[in-house]
């Protein structure tokens, strides 16, 4: 049986233990609103008892450990949920932004602009003589092209904005990775420093918090080693191994006029992205937004080409006195390369086919560089790319921008220097005598049938010259045709007695060269009025004859509103635009719905975590009282022992 001094020790242990408990409660209350904090609790245990002959006597209390109240599997579930949430948040925000770019249901939306343009053309059909109406047509066309350019540019800006966010996201991810590696070190060091294992509760909370933050950006997997290290990987790539962080690097490349950032891990491999903000950002930047841009470009290209084809064969109130083609033929080879070269893919890759005898034999290595390759059939049908480098010797070719699908044998393609590949056919050059009003028509053959030699621009010039010479005689030609020093076709009258115009073009040559065209630029971001017609309303081709009241070409232009020009002849321009907006609406709606579900799911998980690890102030207040009373009781116990000691001392 121990003495009274031993009894003092019991009281002392109780005071000390309750003080620890009070301090922990205080810590809990202090961190009640700290993000990522998990409440701590003190585990008491009895001190080693004193062995008596008849019994064991208690010697007091001691603190076994201070532990975090936490459910590890819940933490992992929250990490996953955060990744999906991050991806969906980015997508929802950006798609909403895209919706506001299209500005649907306002006066400024695309289909209103298109509709207004056609309404102006109807006005033109009603009053082809009036200059004011023609100015209206030009103004509405300007609005339409401005709107297309605005949306096209805005999509680019949105992609750039996403890329900026991506880069700052990568930076913060790197900061987190570095801190994680440091925390790994500290935790292991602290927990193993004394003779007894101690949990580094607050550092672990911090690490868990950082992991959750990181999982919002990247979809990570974590494993904890027995040493206390947490290793982090994403898509099978280690990001943190023990105390080493494998940092993310970025490199910038150009894609369709926008600089985009690729994320790589230390060794240079692309970071695999499954979920998280980074994945959402990249998906939008590289898949969703470019798809909208492509659709918009396709709309622009088809609309512009078809409109130009009809417009170029009509006549304005005034006819041409001289005209340079807007499009120049390929600079070095205007006499070498026919206006259109057609071939078929003979092997699976386009590389092989370009080296097929037809092309390689006909052209020197770089003759095709700078020309446009237009795919006529197969998976890439309708797409076009500029040839950057062509080698007839090795059969390799590089394009500005890749084709989305693989080429298959039998796919047909054409190569041209013009806006689009013209067909075999002909067009009429009509010369009007200003004195008598008499018209003379010359049918100019555009031979591109692949039989024998096909026409080059120089051949067309020769043909025009020869026909004029034959009819008017040397020196009396009303018009000269030539190729300018910058490789454009130039038609210029020689006498003010004549004007000229075009008609019935079955080859598409005029529109492809930009002769008498209405629009210039064939992507949403470059489209505009043909500079030759801007500010010259009298050149708007409403007629097919010289009569001022003739509206027949305007009617043909109006017909383009309902003509099924799009998606292999199944959709009109309005259908196509409607489809585009509809797709945007559907995708945005889908992302919003998914986001709402994911938010509920995540909130649910966070609440679960909170119900386990969160600090409840009422609970802590209760603990405070309990521990305070226990402390008071222990003090009372000591005072009782003291009085007992006094009694003995006073004996």
């Amino acid at each position: 049986m121990g003495g009274l001094f031993d009894s003092f020790k019991i009281g002392e242990s109780a005071l000390r233990a309750q003080q620890v408990a009070l301090q922990t409660t205080g810590h809990n209350i202090a961190n009640a609103t700290t993000e990522g904090y998990s409440r701590q609790r003190v585990i008491f245990e009895t001190t080693r008892p004193q062995d008596l002959i008849f019994a064991q006597l208690g010697t007091g209390v001691q603190v076994a450990k201070i532990e975090r109240v936490i459910n590890e599997s819940l933490e992992t579930a929250i990490q996953d949920a955060r990744s999906d949430l991050g991806s969906l948040q980015v997508q929802t925000d950006s798609l909403r932004q895209l919706e506001s770019i299209f500005n649907q249901f306002t006066e400024g939306d695309l289909d209103t602009a298109l509709s207004r343009f056609f309404e102006a053309l109807e006005e033109l059909a009603g009053n082809p003589e009036e200059r004011g109406v023609r100015e209206l047509v030009l103004a509405e066309a300007q609005t339409l092209t401005d709107k297309l350019r605005f949306v096209g540019d805005a999509i680019d800006r949105l992609r750039e904005q996403l890329d900026d966010e991506l880069r700052s996201n990568v930076n913060s991810a790197n900061t987190i990775l570095v801190e994680l590696a440091e925390l790994n070190g500290e935790i292991v060091r602290l927990e193993n420093a004394g003779e007894q294992f101690r949990t580094a509760n607050d550092l672990r909370d911090r690490r868990d918090f950082l992991l959750k933050e990181l999982s919002g950006s990247v979809d990570i997997r974590t494993t904890e080693e027995s040493t206390g290290h947490v290793n982090v990987s994403a898509g099978g790539v280690q990001l943190v191994f023990r105390q080493t962080a494998n940092l993310l690097t970025t490199d910038v490349r150009a894609d369709d006029g926008v600089s985009v950032t690729d994320i790589r891990v230390g060794d240079g491999a692309l970071l695999p992205l499954v979920s998280g903000e980074l994945e959402g950002t990249v998906k939008l930047r590289d898949t969703v937004l470019p798809q909208f841009q492509r659709d918009l470009d396709e709309f622009t290209r088809v609309f512009v080409d078809e409109f130009n084809k009809v417009h170029s064969t009509g006549r304005g109130l005034e006819r041409f006195t001289s005209l340079d083609s807007r499009v120049a033929v390929h600079e070095r080879n205007e006499t070498l390369v026919p206006l259109r070269v057609e071939d078929t893919v003979t092997t699976g890759g386009l590389t092989g086919s370009l080296n097929s005898t037809g092309l390689a034999a006909a052209f020197a290595d770089d003759d095709l560089n700078g020309l446009k390759l237009v795919v006529l059939s197969g998976a890439n049908a309708g797409l076009e790319r500029t040839i950057l480098d062509f080698s007839g010797v090795t059969g390799t070719v590089t394009f500005a921008g890749e084709f989305p699908a693989a080429f298959a044998p039998g796919d047909r393609f054409a190569i041209t220097s013009l806006d689009f590949p013209p067909e075999d056919g002909s067009f009429d050059l009509v010369i009007t005598s200003q004195l008598t009003g008499e018209t003379k028509t010359f049918n100019i053959d555009v031979d591109l049938d692949g039989i024998g030699a096909d026409d080059k621009l120089a051949d067309i010039v020769s043909e025009i010259t020869a026909e004029l010479l034959a009819f008017y005689g040397a020196g009396s030609e009303p018009l000269t045709a030539s190729i300018t020093s910058d490789n454009r076709l130039r038609l210029a009258r020689t006498s003010s007695d004549f004007t000229f115009s075009f008609a019935s073009d079955t080859s598409g040559f005029l529109a492809a060269m930009g002769l008498g065209t209405f629009f210039a630029g064939r992507t949403a971001r470059t489209v505009g009025l043909d500079p030759a017609i801007a500010g010259k309303p009298e050149l708007v081709a409403a007629a097919k004859s010289n009569a001022p009241g003739d509206n027949s070409n305007a009617l043909d232009l109006i017909a383009l509103r309902t003509d099924l020009l799009f998606t292999s002849g199944t959709a009109s321009s309005e259908d196509f635009l409607r489809g585009l907006i509809g797709k945007l609406g559907t995708e945005s709606r889908e992302a919003q719905d998914l986001l709402r579900n994911q938010e509920s799911l995540t909130l649910n998980l966070e609440n679960q975590r909170e119900s386990i690890s969160g600090v409840n102030l009422d609970e802590e207040s209760l603990n405070l009282i309990i521990h305070q009373r226990a402390f008071q009781a222990a003090a009372r116990y000591i005072s009782a022992i003291d009085q007992m000691l006094q009694v003995l001392l006073n004996l």
Partner: protein, 639 residues
């Protein structure tokens, strides 16, 4: 261990998160509903209802299209109404002129009275011309697409039509358009009847001949054909879908068969021929097309080489080479003389290459004459644009006019155009009799005959002309009667009922002893524009010259001019009525479409208002409960 009685722990943070979540949701809903209520639209962004959006846009587009059609119809109705009103006024003027004509035709009218009336007719003519030059919105109504040029101008020779015969069309419904003008040719008969080129110019094929001109202008249904040869034994598919000219076809055949089959134009220039080295050739259609047949080279059963096709009968077009016309024989390029009233011009075709050149030469000849390819695409027609004059052609020393079929032969001459345009004056009943050599008589009543040729036919087919023994014919500028009946004669022509027709036809009453009676020379005065202008001009002349017969004749001419105007008025009225009907249909449709659109796009205000109310109450409740929850804590009750 702490027991929670089976309830999860709820911490202050949980409470905060849950309350915030529900407050946010409510606030979002309240804002959304408030936006809907203020804008009136259920769909604000495409993502609000992607399916509804698609329907809404489709409906909106349909409504827009309908509105545009209605606007077009308004423009059209305006023009047609103006046309119809103008024609009405012209009709009134013609009635006035006709009343003067009746008065002046009477024997009691004196030369002085007629001279005074001539002035009034002149006034009426000026008014008619002014009305025919009516403008709407600065554009002339009756000039075709020449809307900025007064369609009718009075010149020394008569009234010249400066317009064309083009229609101005506008869209009035989906793939439906209508003409909103009546050009002068139609409204007034502003140009003359054609001097018809009645010779088929039948151009030969050349490599440049467009396929669209083949088969009398119906063209070629473009597809693929299959050529099978025995030497070398081969079967080749030839894709002609992109072919435009005969040259494209021959080149494609030579290219596809690798030169084994040679395609060319036959020597007669009318067909294609296919030649192989030896053996036989068969040409078949592919996929039920008619390409080979349209090209005249269909030969399902193999034929020995060369395969000579059938005549593909190309029409003439503006670019048709003159050298290839008339079966490649070309024609004399001397040209011919055109006389229109007092204007005469000799048009030479030396140096002309195409039909377009030929037309240009004629049109440029400053005799108010227009030449155009006839509707059948076989020849050239000449028409006068000048009212009040007569148009005729004659050779200029060569055979050009005849070759083009533009020389009017006597049997083609209309009886009205005989005798310098005065025509003939038939009476009721028989006009003359012909007494044959055998004494039998043939009684001729020319009512019903329009041309000299008709009269000749009448005589030859007369029931009294048995066998027939009397043959009438036209020779040069005379009618010739040849009698084969045996008899003492003489062969004679006798006027009946005081008719002057026999004399007017050059068969001046008389007799010959022989079997052949050759009439004296008669000639047509050419064609003229039969219209109100000509009628008024002729009537004015008749009044000034105090020509009783011509004044009488003017009545019929005025009636004919008026008939044309009335017919056009009726037609314009019908067109206007059709436009109004179409517009009503658009209006009905629009109403239905708007209802649909409203269902899809617009907010049901009552529903939205109730929802708004509910959400707002829920928001208030959420806020209140939050306030209460966060006030309740154990700390309040601890000493």
């Amino acid at each position: 261990m702490v027991f929670g009685g089976g309830f999860p722990r709820v911490t202050q943070t949980t409470q905060r998160n849950s309350q915030l979540d529900s407050i946010r949701r409510r606030q979002f809903e309240v804002t959304r509903l408030a936006e809907q209520l203020s804008s009136g639209f259920r769909i604000q962004n495409p993502s609000d209802d992607p399916v509804g959006l698609n329907r809404a846009l489709r409906l909106q587009q349909a409504i827009n299209a309908g509105e545009q059609f209605s606007r077009n119809i308004q423009v059209g109705t305006g023009a047609l109404r103006q046309s119809s009103a103008t024609l009405d006024q012209i009709n009134t003027l013609i009635i006035r002129a006709r009343a003067i004509q009746v008065e002046m035709a009477s024997d009691t009218s004196t030369a002085e009275m007629r001279e005074v009336s001539a002035e009034e007719i002149d006034q009426i003519l000026s008014e008619v011309i002014s009305l025919a030059n009516t403008r709407i919105g600065g554009k002339y109504l009756f000039g075709g697409t020449e809307t900025l040029l007064a369609p009718f101008v009075e010149t020394a020779g008569g009234v010249l039509y400066q317009g064309n015969r083009e229609e101005i069309r506008i869209g009035i419904a989906e793939s439906l358009s209508t003409a909103i003008n009546v050009h002068g040719e139609r409204a007034f008969g502003a140009v003359s009847d054609e001097i018809k080129g009645d010779v088929d110019l039948d151009p030969d094929l050349v490599l440049e001949t467009p396929l669209s001109l083949l088969n009398g202008g119906s063209g070629v249904d473009l597809g693929s054909i299959k050529i099978t040869t025995t030497v070398p034994p081969a079967s080749t598919l030839i894709d002609l879908r992109d072919a435009e000219t005969i040259g494209d076809v021959t080149a494609a055949i030579a290219d596809a068969t690798g030169g084994a089959v040679f395609a060319a134009i036959t020597g007669t220039g009318e067909a294609l021929s296919l030649t192989a080295a030896a053996g036989t050739i068969a040409v078949e259609e592919v996929d039920g097309g008619t390409t080979a047949a349209d090209l005249g080279i269909l030969a399902v059963a193999p034929v020995a080489t060369p395969l000579v096709g059938t005549d593909v009968n190309p029409d003439i077009g503006l670019q048709t080479l003159l050298a290839s016309t008339i079966s490649g024989a070309d024609f004399d390029r001397t040209g011919f003389t055109i006389t229109n009233g007092t204007n005469t011009a000799t048009v030479s075709f030396a140096g002309a290459v195409t039909i377009e050149d030929l037309l240009n030469r004629i049109n440029a000849a400053d005799v108010s004459v227009t030449a155009r390819i006839n509707d059948a695409g076989t020849g050239i027609d000449l028409l006068s644009k000048l009212s009040g004059t007569r148009l005729s052609t004659s050779e200029a020393g060569g055979t050009t006019a005849a070759a083009l079929g533009l020389l009017v032969t006597l049997d083609e001459v209309r009886l009205d155009d005989l005798n310098g345009g005065k025509g003939v004056s038939p009476v009721d009943g028989a006009d003359f009799t012909i007494t044959q050599l055998d004494g039998s008589t043939i009684t001729v009543d020319i009512s019903g005959a329009k041309t000299v040729g008709d009269v000749v036919s009448l005589i030859n087919a007369d029931s009294e002309n048995t066998a027939p023994t009397l043959v009438a014919s036209v020779s040069g500028s005379s009618i010739v009667l040849t009698d084969s009946s045996a008899g003492p004669g003489p062969l004679s022509v006798t006027a009946k009922n005081g008719s002057s027709v026999a004399a007017e036809l050059g068969l001046s009453t008389g007799s010959v002893a022989g079997a052949v009676l050759t009439g004296s020379a008669i000639a047509g005065a050419g064609v003229q524009a039969e219209n109100v202008f000509t009628a008024l001009i002729d009537f004015r002349e008749a009044l000034l010259t105090n020509d009783q017969a011509a004044i009488s004749a003017a009545g019929a001419a005025l009636d004919r001019g008026r008939a044309t105007v009335l017919q056009t008025t009726a037609e314009v009225g019908a067109r206007e009525a059709r436009l109004t009907l179409t517009d009503n249909r658009h209006a009905d449709q629009r109403l239905t479409l708007r209802e649909f659109l409203s269902d899809v796009r617009d907010v049901d205000l009552a529903e939205a208002a109730i929802d708004f109310q509910r959400e707002q109450q829920a928001l208030v409740a959420a806020l209140q409960s939050t306030a209460v929850i966060f006030q309740t804590t154990l700390l309040n009750f601890l000493g």
